[in-house]
Symmetry: C2
Subunit: 347 residues, 2 copies
């Protein structure tokens, strides 16, 4: 099993990637990791970590170009054949690696994966599936931002792929699926939701109905389905709001000497909350629907986040996530065709 | 100045409404309040509060019917002419009241207001404008859920009405306006946002560009514009997430005796955070675009929330919010027409 790692991806350069890779090799003796990036920089970082000689099962593929975040990802990926993320996707396509992990720009990763690896047969739109910490455990939200405008058929496919992911990675036999909407009644929502919901029970997922914004963080729904516009706003809002709450508490605590003592005594509890809501432990966000395992880690990933992303990638390969999604898509092809036809007639 | 209060609206029946009304009368000697609801119930509550005789400036309009929350609001409002919310809207239409306040079902209130009072000339879609607590102060988000599917012209009008509201109620001379989207670049977003943004600078608001989910709670944008589907999800998510964070902290604190002591010492700080994020003090959510002042208070409103909602309603009447929005709509009519034409040509 070989994982390609976009080893300069993320906000902190080579270090967390190299350390995460070394840890992953230690944890799993079956694993090989390919560091993809500027070889000079990577060798320097390995030396800094006391590894001037490449350890067994670790290799480097030189990829000196970098994607300009401000430019258009599609253009960048086409022009820069030696950008690390493009090389990662090509390693998977040519079976020189079984999966890739990147903490780089998710838009660029999606484009590189699409160009390099293509889609699983039958999948219309790959999505970014993002694990979210909740009150109890984790829920998977998709699409997290790859497709700003969606059609019902896309949401239906997200439900199938998200369910498969939760089965494979979190061992949930029949993950519950909810469509994010407004109001719990199935008659409410926008046109997209109204046209999606009636077909949700035809596609073999454990559909529980629509859920509201307030239900996103309870953990009662394993797979939360929405378009990428709503999904990205939800993810960013949750991130921002958690930070705002912590900052508000800090601000008020600092005004009160007694509260400062109290906060000191409560430190363990706050740390536990922080750990609980830390997305690093959930193994990154898979790009579901592309024809190969691809995991996006958060831009601010530390070595633990990289380690978990590599382990998740390995798990998906081991459990044949791609093959399973492919088989489901093939089996559902007539159903999807029928649904598309009836949706077309409705309009 | 006379405010009609849907006096049995909300989750807690007559009590918070009656107490809120009594407080409002005490605070403002120019104010009159009409309690609208079942007279027997209201007189009983007034007696329970030591007011068997109606105080000066307080009156009752008997409205015995109640809206069934589970039924379709439009049908309910048409059939139940004596439902309190329908009576409230009609009191405003017939100039027997200057504004109404309700803590009842917001969908029913919107329908009753639309049927009873109509729209301000030129407004295509009234919206629910919801004040949100932020790290610093308050931001107004609209639409909060009245219009699940919107067109660019609706969002443009929301921007104008929301700006006017922040000017009148929060005394901000040129409220900053942001369109909620994904990615800060104006080229990102869904089709709705992409078609809205290019016209935002033509309508006389202080447009600052698009904002992301993470920017919603910073307080840097005074008026946040989005469709009612996204808006409702944002509001409910923020509510749910704040609760989840508090519950997580409580859960972890309870596991640790020292932390429990710490929490006791920090109590003042947590109370301050709770007060800061308490939407009760922001005066409820106005229905903007209907032809009369109408304020929706939260279903769980206590007397303070009702008091603030009544005071906000009075302020909007005093400052001629309706007249001002009407004047802006009239002045912008040619601009809106031109924008609609160019949007039509784009499609």
């Amino acid at each position: 099993m070989k994982i390609a790692l976009d080893a300069l991806g993320g906000d902190f350069g080579a270090k967390p990637n190299v350390l995460g890779a070394l840890k992953a090799l230690k944890h799993n003796p079956q694993l090989e990791v390919v560091l993809v990036g500027d070889e000079g920089v990577l060798r320097q970082e390995l030396s800094a970590q006391g590894r001037p000689v490449l350890p067994k099962r670790l290799s480097i593929v030189h990829a000196p170009e970098t994607i300009n975040m401000d430019a258009e990802p599609a253009k960048e990926c086409r022009q820069k054949k030696n950008a690390s993320i493009v090389v990662c996707a090509n390693l998977v396509r040519t079976h020189q690696a079984d999966a890739f992990v990147s903490a780089g720009h998710s838009g660029a990763a999606m484009v590189a994966a699409l160009f390099g690896m293509g889609r699983i047969k039958g999948v219309l739109r790959p999505a970014i599936a993002t694990p979210m910490p909740t009150y109890r455990g984790v829920s998977l939200l998709l699409d997290g931002g790859a497709n700003a405008d969606c059609k019902p058929i896309h949401l239906l496919q997200f439900a199938v792929m998200g369910s498969t992911y939760m089965q494979k990675v979190f061992d949930i036999p029949a993950p519950s699926v909810g469509v994010l909407s407004i109001g719990e009644e199935e008659t409410k929502g926008n046109m997209l939701v109204k046209h999606t919901v009636p077909h949700m029970r035809k596609i073999g997922v454990n559909f529980r109905g629509t859920i509201e914004g307030r239900d996103v963080n309870t953990g009662e729904t394993d797979v939360i389905v929405c378009d990428g516009f709503v999904g990205n706003i939800v993810l960013k809002l949750a991130e921002g709001l958690a930070r705002t709450m912590i900052n508000l508490i800090k601000r008020e605590v600092k005004k009160r000497p007694l509260a400062m003592l109290g906060a000191l005594l409560s430190k363990g509890a706050f740390k536990a909350v922080k750990n609980h809501t830390n997305p690093d432990v959930y193994g990154g966000a898979p790009l579901v629907g592309v024809n190969g395992v691809a995991i996006i880690a958060h831009g601010r990933s530390n070595q633990t986040a990289i380690l978990h992303a590599i382990e998740t990638a390995a798990r998906l390969v081991e459990k044949d996530f791609i093959g399973d999604v492919g088989a489901k898509m093939a089996a559902l092809a007539p159903t999807f065709e029928q649904i598309e036809k009836s949706l077309h007639e409705e309009n």
